[in-house]
């Protein structure tokens, strides 16, 4: 009796949260899949069952493949680099350092600034001719660059901004974790004659594993989610060279008003996230000691 009362209480506590979770995450995710089998309704033409038509379009859509490739490269480039830099930052800021507060503040500023605004600033840095990079380049006797305006480099230009934006945020998590490592542990190792590198590899890094898992899940999600700066920097161009999956979904659904195809693209995005998440848990599972 008491037990059922407990159950009911628990469920009641969960109701408000779950209403919103289900309404804006689980249901739309399922409806997205369902809608990918219909055509887009327009004006006087209602939606009709399309079977796999949208998926056929998808497979033969060169832009989709390009965007997919871009997103893979974007993830492969930004995730390890932003995590690596975050770790280095945290290690630096965690030790005795002249002007530590200022340095920490500097690392952290990108987190507070809106991407949409800093993208404008980065655009100035990248601007050919009189932008910051080219001004520095000219002083060194180098010629003009056009990073955002060339198909080979546009995506890299976008990736740099992402890494800059993310690293400081991830640093906070590492920093919090570093400060909970007992100094006695490091002392003990030192007494046993371990060098700095050994301590880092044998003690610090393993103890940071749960943080790395948390941060890397975040980074993976962000690599599919962070597209704000693309609106300003390149608009996905040139010829979709810097377009990512979510940006393409936005274009298809809200510029071309083809919501059915937008849903189809979203299904692919969902599938990717699921695969990556499972992969990550498997990869880290053996090394993470989680409660």
């Amino acid at each position: 009796m008491l037990r059922t009362r407990g159950w009911i209480e628990a469920w009641l506590l969960l109701v408000p949260g779950f209403v919103f979770l289900i309404a804006f995450t689980h249901v739309p995710a399922l409806v997205t899949i369902w809608n990918s089998f219909f055509t887009t309704p327009r004006g006087r033409r209602p939606a009709r069952w399309a079977g796999l038509e949208n998926y056929e379009t998808l497979l033969s859509d060169p832009t989709f493949w390009k965007v997919l490739k871009n997103n893979a490269l974007y993830a492969a480039g930004t995730i390890p680099l932003s995590i690596g830099i975050a770790l280095v930052m945290a290690l630096w800021v965690n030790r005795q350092l002249a002007g530590r507060g200022l340095v920490r503040m500097a690392y952290f500023t990108p987190t507070v600034l809106p991407m949409i605004a800093v993208a404008n600033i980065w655009m100035f840095f990248y601007t050919p001719g009189f932008g910051l990079i080219d001004q520095i380049g000219a002083a060194l006797g180098l010629g003009q660059t056009n990073i955002l305006g060339s198909a080979d480099t546009a995506l890299w230009g976008v990736m740099v901004v992402t890494i800059w934006k993310e690293a400081g945020f991830f640093m906070i998590f590492y920093l919090a974790a570093l400060q909970t490592i007992p100094p006695s542990l490091v002392e003990a190792a030192r007494i046993e004659g371990a060098g700095g590198w050994t301590i880092f590899r044998r003690i610090t890094l393993p103890l940071l594993m749960p943080t790395t898992l948390f941060v890397s899940i975040n980074a993976v999600v962000n690599s599919f989610r962070m597209v704000d700066h693309i609106f300003i920097l390149t608009g996905g161009g040139p010829d979709n060279a810097s377009s990512l999956l979510l940006f393409y979904i936005y274009e298809v659904a809200f510029r071309f008003w083809d919501t059915a195809y937008g849903a189809t693209l979203t299904v692919v995005l969902l599938a990717f996230l699921m695969i990556l998440a499972i992969g990550q848990f498997v990869l880290f599972d053996r090394r993470v000691h989680y409660r």
Binding site: R42, G43, R44, T63, M123, F124, T127, P128, G129, F130, A138, G141, L142, G143, Q144, N146, L148, G149, S150, A151, T234, G235, G237, P238, D239, N240, A241, E251, F254, R255, F256, W257, D258
Partner: protein
Amino acid sequence: MLMTNLKAATAALAFAAAPAAADVDLQFYFPVAVGGAAAETIQSLTDQYVAEHEGVAIEAVYTGSYQDTVAKALTAARGGNAPQLSVILSTDLFTLLDEDLIQPFDTFATSAEDKDWLASFYPAFMENSQTGGKTYGIPFQRSTPVLYWNKEAFKAAGLDPETPPATWDEMVEMGKKLTVRDASGNVTQWGVRIPSSGFPYWLFQGLTTQNDVILANAEGNEVHFDDPKVVEALDYLVDLSKSHEVMAPGIIEWGATPKAFFEGQAAMMWTTTGNLTNVRDNAPFDFGVGMLPAHLRRGAPTGGGNFYLFKDASEEQARAAFDFVKWISEPEQSAKWTMATGYVAPRPETWETETMKAYAAEFPAVLVARDQLEHAVAELSTYENQRVTSIFNDALAAAITGQKSSQEALKDAQAQADAILKPYR
């Protein structure tokens, strides 16, 4: 003192209550795409109209960018509360028709006077406003690209500072003289800058028109992207960077273009007449404004927004909206609008007014855009406009960045566009 205050208050109250007593209520969406006093000018013109016309109340809603405005109009219409009137890109004509949202102005232009009014706009602006023999759009915030040149740079290069290039070949020749390199061979000033980010098709349409080819038919269901003349125009654009080396390689940012011009990074630039005020205020040197150079003919696209009349409006609302559009396009109002924003006044009559004459005398550059209209054509517009133009944009970008040859890029774009437009034929 107290009494006058009281009187003023009552008057204000009466005025505020007036819309409720109006026989006709109108809602009108407008976007703003240029800086400056555009939004305030529309508001004050609307207020003036309401003050002069009893029985009509107009709510003018500033709806952000063009993109926001069309999105808002579409969603409002789906929700059953569309505005009666809206300013939307002239190129969205087919999208609005496809969504079955707008009605032609002809229905209400029954008198001879009204019919004359419909015929009184520059034909170049009407091309984007009419289809199937009906007029769906009335030109309002319209622009066209022009050539700006740096007179000091021309002087320094030994060119006549008062004469811009008149032809494609001249632009290349002058561009070569205007391209300056430092001791180590790095370019410090480019001859010309034709921005190609975001919506490269617009300026490129200048080149295609000059090469005497039209990109889309008037029905909006057929495009001619792989026409040999379009390929030739694209080759010319690509060669400006590739073989003539008078323009920076790669995609050139639209937004940074005026700044690059001010900084002396480029001696000539192509951009909209909407930049006239900006350039006049910020260029630290003497500059000129001219028509785009000619090739087989002169030519330029038009751009910007039209008034559209929505279908959901009642008979009275539609009539009132029609009357308002007619009023705002009258020379006096139109002159105010043009002077406040830099948009091209869409009717020849406006240019005959004393105010406009005085304005043009003081700042003759504004006449260039008007004179170019004679050679201008409709901005590229089709069914599924956003999608078709973005295919075209991608093709241009691919050729500019050297990913594909012009021929190849345009052939691919044609195939993709055909697939999309087939159901509309």
